[in-house]
Structure formats: C-alpha cells, structure tokens
C-alpha cells in the first residue's frame, strides 16, 4: 500500500529540516519510504497521491496531558470523541490521564482504555496510570502490572502527592521500573479551596486565593526527591515564573527533570477573569499574572520548558454553569492549541517552526520514552499537515469534543491542521474528519 504526499513543505529538526524544505513524501505500509525532490516521482497507477500544495508537513503532534474521561464520565468526553478532537487539533497521539471513574490504577483498567482505543479511537492513545492507589497519595499503585498492560508513565494528576515520604517511595519504585513520573504540584495546606490566583483575581472577586507558592514548594520538593531517587520527573502544567526558575536550576544540575506548559497559561492571565466569574477561566493551577505568562513564553522558546501540553479538561455545560466555587476546574485544549501557538508564538517570531515541532511532537515522545516520529525513511507515518493561512474563529459549535468549556471561544486564530495521517492513513482531510 503506497501513497505520495506531493509538494509538502517539510519541517523537522530531527531530520535536518530546520528550515522548511519542499519535498514529495512517499509512504509505504504505514511508514515513510522516501523523501524526494518535488515532481521527481512519476504518477503510478494504484498509488494514491495527495497534493499538499506547499502546506507544512511535520511529524504528528502529541499531547501528553489529556483527560479522555473514559471510563466513567462519558457525558463529558469518551475515547472516540476525545481522539476525534485530538485529530481535529492536529494531534496524532495523546496521553490519557488516570483520574477516571474508576481510577486507572491497575492493569485491567489500563487494558480497558488501550483495547477500546485500539478498536474505536482515530488517534493513538497512550495511558498514564495512577501513581498511588485511587490517587489518594497513600500507597503505591500496581505500577508493574500497569506497565505490563501498556501504561507508559505514572501520575496522580489532579492532585499533588501530599506526603513527601510516599512521593519518595513512588519515585524510587517508578525508577526501578524505568517509568517517568508526571507530577501535579499542589500543596493542599496552602491551596485548600483556592479558586483563582492569589492576588488581583482573588481580591477583586472575593474568592479564595491559590497562591503561586502552593505550586512552587511542591516543584522544589519533587526536584529534591528527583535528586535523591534519580527518577525521571516531569512537572505538569507549570504556571509560574519561579516554578520555571526551579526547573531551570534542576536541569543545570543535570537532573532528569522536564516540564510542560499549557496554552492557557501561555496566552491568558488572571485579568481574563475580570469581574465576570466566567467558569471557563477556572483552571487548576489558576491563570497567573502577565509576568508569569511572559516568563513561560520565554522559557518555552529557550527550552527550559520542554513541551506544550493542553490539559484538555472537558466538562458538561451543567457543571460549568454552576456558581464559580462549585464549578469544576479546566478548559478543553486539543482543538485550539496548535492555532494558538501558530498565531501567538510562531507568527510573532517568538518560536520557529522547528521549535514548534520539537516542543509539540518530539519532546513529549522523548519524555515518555516512546519511539520518535520523524520525517525520515523508516519512521512511522504519523503526520500533521498545517494550513498556515487559514483564518478562523474559535466558536462554541465548532468542536469535535463533546464539551464546549473552552477558554478561547471568540479568539481569532490563523493556521490549523488541514490533514492528519496516522500510520499512513489519512484521518483528517481539508480540516474534516474522515
């Protein structure tokens, strides 16, 4: 089975394509079989040719922080709808978080997600298992069992592990199995019922504050435990300038520490809350200050922040329309992340296309120990095609996700995924799911 992507403007720093280069890309049996000068291969009967007309072709994007809500909360999202949202957003792979119902803390639950995904998902679905049983932070989950079932990382995402002794054990155990630990950093005694950033937003809205220190203290602790245990540590959804400084210092020491940032922490601040109590802006960690967002953008460019991950957190309208303090945390992100990064970082010259590929395709797979996807012969043909010129507005009726709780509704963006291929098969074409 062969197909040819003609006139693809290829970018992939891992393939020596730092700068865009026009190629024809030959695919065979789900792999890349050749990259040639445009027009050098003659048309062949039985081979499907797709002319990209100079659109960007990059290795398929991966989002390593996604809540698929399946099993248990399928009214918010499920494996099918979540994977469709991923493909619409240009992602070929996602990492599903374990805070489902039941929690993914044993091999059987991990197998359920992977089996269901294999049968029904249109994107590749990877699974992070719970770090502790029931995400309670008290005792180690059966990480070995979950690894055998196919889990690739462990996390108690949604809450921080409060007991430092338990966190130490979890890091030691995970590192014995060679699995990375993804850490949601939140000190409960400081954060408590915190709703919004402690500062302007908490004062203006009369809501309990979620202080930056509540995140930074646990980042600092986990880095110290990383040094003690040697376990690969990945800090999730980092949101403050000081948090980034801690990670930068850890990296300078040579520790195996990485981190991710979400589009909402890059491009929104607590000022978005104004006086409106719009629960689409209720996030955990909360939207921070303009100075924090600027530091996050600079750190992403510099590489102190390894990757962009969306923390795609779908919620039903009846949940998000509650009183602010009763509404759940989170925004959807899969379908807006690429457009936001293209519009707000690439078009402005703050991030090169090669850096976008590194931060949104290569880094997540490297952090999780997955096989790289590159524009080289022999690589699996998980590919994202980007139309950089299309202008579009994020609108409430335009989501493939089951949920519409998006903090970016109304934003005008330039650039989005037009085609997505997974294992050489076209699953998105002309921006439409096939």
């Amino acid at each position: 089975m062969e197909s040819l992507l003609r006139n693809a403007l290829c970018v992939d720093p891992a393939a020596g394509l730092e700068e865009p280069g026009l190629r024809d890309v030959l695919l065979r049996d789900g792999l890349i079989a050749g990259l040639t000068e445009p027009g050098s291969l003659p048309t062949e009967a039985g081979r499907e040719d797709l002319d990209l007309e100079g659109r960007l072709l990059i290795p398929g994007l991966m989002d390593m922080h996604v809540h698929l809500r399946d099993p248990g909360q399928e009214y918010k999202e499920d494996i099918v709808s979540g994977s469709r949202a991923a493909v619409c957003g240009g992602f070929t792979a996602v990492l599903a978080m374990p805070n489902t119902s039941p929690v993914l803390d044993k091999g059987a639950e991990v197998s359920y997600v992977l089996d269901a995904a294999a049968q029904t998902a249109c994107a590749r679905v990877y699974v992070a298992g719970a770090l502790t049983k029931g995400l309670k932070g008290e005792s180690l989950s059966e990480m070995g069992d979950m690894l055998a079932a196919g889990a690739v990382a462990f996390t108690d995402d949604g809450r921080g592990v409060q007991d430092s002794g338990v966190m130490r054990l979890a890091l030691e155990y995970a590192s014995s199995l060679g699995a990375p630990v993804l850490s949601h950093c939140q000190v409960e005694t400081l954060v408590g019922g915190g709703q919004v950033n402690e500062g302007i937003a908490s004062t203006r809205l009369g809501l309990a504050g979620w202080p930056a220190a509540g995140e930074e203290i646990q980042i600092a602790r986990d880095i110290a435990l990383c040094e003690l245990t040697g376990c690969a540590l990945h800090i999730q959804h980092i949101s403050t300038a000081e948090g980034v400084a801690l990670v930068r210092a850890a990296k300078a020491k040579g520790l195996p520490v990485t981190c991710e940032v979400t589009p909402h922490h890059l491009f929104l601040t607590e000022d978005a809350l104004d006086a409106h109590y719009d629960t689409n802006f209720k996030m955990n960690p909360p939207l921070r200050t303009a100075a924090d967002a600027a530091a996050l953008r600079a750190a992403l460019e510099k590489g102190d922040i390894d990757c962009v991950a969306t923390d795609h957190a779908p919620h039903a309208p009846h949940e998000k329309s509650l009183e602010f303090e009763l509404a759940p945390f989170g925004t959807t992100g899969l379908e807006t992340a690429l457009g936001l990064v293209l519009t707000n970082l690439v078009a402005t010259g703050e991030l090169s296309l090669a850096q976008l590929v590194e931060r949104m395709a290569h880094a997540p797979r490297r952090i999780l120990g997955l096989a790289p996807v590159t524009l080289t012969v022999g690589s699996v043909a998980d590919l994202t095609v980007i139309d950089r010129d299309v202008e579009w507005e994020v609108c409430v009726d335009g989501f493939a996700s089951k949920s519409k709780n998006c903090a970016f509704i109304g934003k005008k963006l330039k650039g989005r995924a037009s085609e997505v291929l997974i294992g050489g098969t076209v699953v998105l074409r002309g921006g439409e799911l096939l």
């Binding site: 408590g192 809205l205 009369g206 006086a275 409106h276 109590y277 329309s321 009183e323 602010f324």
Partner: protein
C-alpha cells in the same frame, strides 16, 4: 428625580458616584416616612420582589422585606430550607423558574461569590446583591455611607479606619471601594493573616496597628470576625484579637471627640467591641440598622422606577 445608570446592583462599582449620591439623597425622605405612624407608600404597588436568601440572614433579610412592604410591593421569601436548591436544583434553573413567574426584582444572598451574576444572566428582573460569599454586600456599604454622611455632612476627606477581618469580609469588599470612590481615605487595619492579597484594589491603604493613628480617624468601623468563614484559623485566640484589635473604653477615649464608631452587626461582644463600648455606641449602631431600611427603600424605588407622587403623600 433621575434614574440609576445600572440595571443591577451586584458590585458596588456597578454604581457611579452620581448613582450613590442619588440613592443616599433619595433615602432621606424615606427615612422620614419610616418615622410616620403609617409607614407605607403605594409607590411599588403591584411589583413583585423576591428575597432569595440561600444563606442564613436575619437583619439583611428583615430589612429588605420591610423595605419592600413599606413600598407596597408584593414580597416573596425564599430561604435555603424552603427553596428547591436543597433538592439539588441548580441556581440557573432556580433563576429561570423565578423568571417564568415574572418577578420584578430579586435580592439574593448566597454563600458563593459571583452568584448574583448567574441570576442577572438568566432573568429579566433587576438583581440586588444581598451578600455573595466573601465578595460584596453593596447595600450594607450604602447604609454605612448614609450613616457617615448624616453625621459629618460629607464623605470626601474623611479618614476612615476599617478594622478586622478584611480578607473574608464582603462588607469591606463593597465599603472600601465605595468610600474610595467618594473621596474618603480608607485604612484597613488587621494582622496580615486577615488581609487580602491586594488591599489597594479595594481602595485601602493598610496598617497592622489599631493604636498607631487612632486619634486621627473620623470613623472607626469594626468588622465582625466571621468565625464560621475562616478556613484555617488566622488568629491565635479571640482574647488576643480583642487585645490588639478590639474596641474598648480606653481606645474609645483616645478617638477624636467627634469621631464615630460603627459595626455592621451582629457584634461578637467582647471580641470586636467590649460590652461597655457597645452601650456607649449603641445609638449609632442602631442608627445604621434604621438607615438600612430607608436606603434599601431608596434603592428599590430607583431601580423599579417607582411612582414619585407617593413619597410626598
């Protein structure tokens, strides 16, 4: 008589300085009405006012209820125990249900900040915030402004100390910005554990000592220590609080002779104020309560565009 520039009074900053002055001016004749034997005007006859009190309240609910009755409005009371919210109905659904009954004005008291906005987004009626979580309590601020203005004849240039649980106080959430808007100088006095992250956003400068400049204030406003709303105790003891930040006869004697002492009530005796201080200040504390009815009548009247002739009757 003019009209207000806003449909709802949720945030004190929904009101302009002109709006606030209009409300205070309008409250003056209503206060006179409340001294009459027949304390009832026909101005809001046929209008429906709903008191949606989802959190316990005695004085605010009574004050609004009385204000509505004295303006001849038809009032309905919903409390947490009678409303459908305890059966799990969402506030959005409650709002839409009340809206279907064609209410003209809803006063909401709720434990969650921002909840009056949910009503405003789902109803045609005017909304008055009767206290939302730790956010705002604009009618308390208005009656306090009225009280201060009655005493001094002005608000601009006055030095006002507000003492106590600033961080958890919806009273201060409205009063601080209101005093600032009207040109008073506000000092929030509390230990840092009871101060919000950015007190300057509420129009206040900050001091951690009550004794430091006590003789310079025109108004000393003691906030209630909201013991039920303190997540982790920010105070070592109420005894120590009373010692450092409580009003007693000794401190009262140090205040300017013309200075006034205020409290939104209910008072924790022996905490914010000693009992003998309460006796000394009783007239003013009750004056605040009395003014509350008139100010709420004025606000309802202005929002609902009541019939003017009624007042003179």
């Amino acid at each position: 008589m003019g009209a207000l520039s806003t449909k709802h009074v949720i945030d004190i900053q929904d009101l302009s300085v002109e709006d606030i002055n209009l409300i205070l001016d309008t409250a003056v004749p209503f206060k006179e009405v409340n001294q009459r034997t027949i304390k009832k005007l026909p101005t809001l006859r046929g209008r429906t006012v709903v008191n949606l009190f989802l959190e316990p309240s005695t004085r605010t609910r009574t004050s609004f209820e009385l204000a509505a009755k004295r303006l001849s409005a038809d009032g309905i009371n919903f409390s947490a125990s009678t409303s459908a919210t305890i059966k799990g109905e969402s506030l959005v659904d409650t709002a839409q249900t009340l809206d279907a009954m064609d209410c003209d004005l809803v006063i909401i008291r709720h434990g969650y900040a921002g909840s009056p906005r949910i009503l405003a987004q789902n109803m045609r009626a005017h909304i008055i915030n009767g206290g939302d979580g730790k956010h705002q309590h604009p009618t308390q601020a208005l009656l306090d402004l009225f009280t201060i203005r009655e005493r001094f004849g002005r608000l601009a240039g006055l030095k006002v100390a507000v003492v106590g649980d600033i961080a958890h106080s919806r009273v201060f959430g409205s009063l601080g910005p209101a005093l600032d808007m009207l040109g008073a100088q506000v000092t929030a006095i509390a230990p840092k554990t009871l101060l919000p992250a950015c007190p300057e956003l509420l129009g206040a400068s900050v001091s951690t000592s009550l004794d430091e400049a006590l003789e310079t204030y025109d108004v000393v406003y003691m906030l209630r220590i909201q013991q039920e709303r303190l997540e982790r105790s920010p105070l070592p003891s109420l005894r120590e609080y009373a010692r450092l930040y409580g009003m007693n006869l000794e401190r009262l004697a140090r205040m300017k002779p013309e200075a006034i002492l205020m409290h939104p009530g209910p008072v924790n005796r022996g905490v914010e104020l000693t009992s003998d201080t309460i006796e000394m200040a009783r007239n003013l504390l009750l004056y605040q309560v009395n003014a509350g009815v008139a100010v709420r009548m004025a606000l309802m009247y202005l929002l609902l565009g009541g019939d003017q002739d009624g007042i003179a009757a």
